[in-house]
């Protein structure tokens, strides 16, 4: 009963959101600086790509030329929640009328706000409009703490709900039968895969259990987010540096908090080496502690960003190569190349989720490993091999 009512409820919420906002968006037909016509020139393509890569306060789907000769953009606005100088402020992003050049000033809660390149700035006391300095940074405004439901936050929530719905219903199935049916049958092997190929071999048979929730959640979160980034909705969740920083910090803290005596000993007082080496190794090991999560966050961010840039660049070929190949030729070329890259991107979506989870598990495994001091060198050497094996197989 519950299983059947959940998706209906879930779909209702989503469709309500979409419909309500679409209607809402229809009312705001705007002459936006960036959206005055189809994207045509090289500069506009670059701007469009950069705009897509960044987070946004609007959920913009597409725009079209209306019968009244104006551009209408279809999408929905998202709530803006700010902690400004005069306390918390919340309003819908539609109040900016899709403006991202800092021209529309919204006055709320005694403060004035503008949207400059999808960052909300709070104008200083008395300022009427934003003034740009020579370094292209505004001089009379600052960024308030922005807790808005941006497009990425919306995407994160969507991914979270999807995961909860999928795996929650899989978990519920086990109450009645031991072998899941339907979509759960496809999800179950994935869970087993993460358990048997990622967690168990890297963390060890006796300790992996504790970290399963984190590894599974992160694996599926990254994977679904990456895949959602492939859809035409234009999500770019894992391409947001803040998101990957957050994910990597989770790994970092979990590793530090589960590190046993041996782990800390190997960082601050490396056994079996001369004292002078022990001292030299301290900063190196401490740096290594930090570079591990740093490599995680950069790898994920860079891979996804690069993928989006390449896909958008290839789609843009139909405009940039129109002069040389004609409309049909450039569109065909763009289609074939984009299809090709998209297939690779689907692979990358999985691969990045796998690598992130795999390396997280590996770092946790190194932190909780029981060292046998008689065979320390073998142990160490073995672990180093593991890391290199893993790296080699992904390069």
């Amino acid at each position: 009963m519950k299983i059947t009512s959940l998706p209906i409820h879930f779909l209702a919420v989503i469709s309500f959101l979409l419909l309500g906002s679409l209607v809402n968006a229809q009312e705001h037909s705007v002459a936006e600086a960036n959206d005055e016509g189809p994207v045509n020139t090289q500069q506009e393509i670059t701007d469009y790509t950069n705009h897509h890569l960044k987070d946004s306060h609007d959920f913009h789907l597409f725009s079209y030329q209306g019968s009244d000769g104006e551009r209408h953009s279809v999408g929905f606005s998202l709530p803006v929640i700010l902690w400004a100088s005069n306390g918390p402020v919340a309003f819908m992003s539609s109040e900016f009328h899709h403006d991202i050049d800092g021209e529309v000033v919204v006055e709320k809660g005694g403060s004035r706000f503008v949207n400059l390149h999808d960052k909300i700035y709070e104008l200083e006391e008395g300022a009427e409009e934003i003034v740009m300095g020579e370094d292209h940074h505004p001089v009379n405004a600052h960024k308030p703490f922005d807790l808005s439901i941006t497009k990425s936050v919306f995407g994160i929530l969507l991914v979270g709900l999807l995961l909860l719905f999928w795996f929650g219903s899989l978990g519920k199935q086990y109450k009645k039968k031991s072998i899941p049916t339907g979509f759960g049958r496809a999800l179950e092997p994935l869970v087993i895969y993460v358990r048997d190929e990622i967690a168990r071999p890297n963390i060890g048979e006796h300790k992996y259990r504790k970290y399963m929730s984190f590894l599974l959640t992160v694996f599926f979160f990254i994977w679904v987010s990456n895949l959602l980034g492939m859809t035409p909705f234009g999500f770019n969740i894992t391409g947001q540096i803040a998101v990957t920083v957050c994910l990597a910090l989770f790994t970092f803290f979990i590793v530090q908090f589960s590190g046993n005596k041996d782990y800390w000993k190997h960082i601050f007082w490396m056994p079996d080496v001369p004292v002078i080496m022990k001292i030299i190794l301290i900063p190196i090991e401490v740096l290594g502690m930090l570079t591990k999560p740093f490599s995680l966050l950069i790898r994920l961010f860079a891979n996804i960003t690069a993928g989006h840039v390449v896909v958008m660049g290839l789609i843009a070929l139909m405009i940039t190569l129109k002069a040389q190949f004609g409309a049909v030729g450039s569109t065909g070329l763009s289609l074939v190349l984009t299809l090709f890259i998209s297939v690779i991107e689907i692979l990358v979506a999985f691969l990045q989720a796998f690598i992130f989870t795999m390396l997280s598990a590996l770092f946790i495994g190194m932190a909780v490993a029981e060292h046998d001091h008689d065979h320390e060198h073998d142990e160490e050497g073995h672990e180093v091999d593991d890391v290199e094996d893993v790296r080699e197989s992904f390069v």
Partner: protein, 166 residues
């Protein structure tokens, strides 16, 4: 780098952190815990079933070996019995043959003895008769006058012709 730092949104970071913590907790409660424990349960069940099957297979194997052994024993026993029977038969035949031969020998010996005795008796009787006959002839010859030598000879011939050797 400057671009990256500028793009880093603290708000998004906080939202992601909060949502991720909530998501991990919710997923743990509603998804991972039941899924993983059921998987463990199922795997243990499968393991148990496999072990039981292996055990059953071994038992079956033992049973088969036992059967085979019993069969072989029975076969050996049958062979032994057959062999014994054959031996007994051969022995019986041999014995019977021996007995029969001895019996026959005995009978033959007895017969020979009887024949010899009869023969002796016959010879003795013949001897007697011959002697008697000879005496008779001699008597008759003597009774005749032994004048005519030719007649004597004729008479002896006639007598000898009349005398039938019974």
């Amino acid at each position: 780098m400057d671009q990256l730092l500028n793009d880093f949104s603290p708000g998004l970071f906080v939202m992601q952190a909060v949502i991720l913590i909530i998501l991990i907790l919710l997923m743990k409660k509603f998804a991972w815990k039941p899924i993983l424990s059921s998987l463990d349960e199922r795997e243990q069940g499968i393991q148990g079933a496999l072990e039981a099957a292996e055990k059953a297979r071994l038992e079956m194997k033992n049973l088969q070996a036992d059967n085979e052994k019993a069969l072989q024993e029975a076969r050996a026993e049958r062979d032994a019995m057959l062999k014994e029977a054959r031996e007994i038969r051969t022995k019986m035949i041999a014995e019977a043959e021996g007995d029969a031969k001895a019996q026959a020998d005995k009978i033959i010996t007895q017969a020979q003895e009887a024949i010899a005795a009869e023969k002796r008796a016959a010879v003795a009787e013949l001897k007697g008769q011959v002697a008697e006959l000879s005496l008779e002839i001699a008597e008759k010859v003597v009774k005749q006058e032994l004048s005519d030598k030719e007649k004597q000879q004729q008479y002896v011939d006639k007598m000898l012709q009349d005398a039938t050797l019974n």
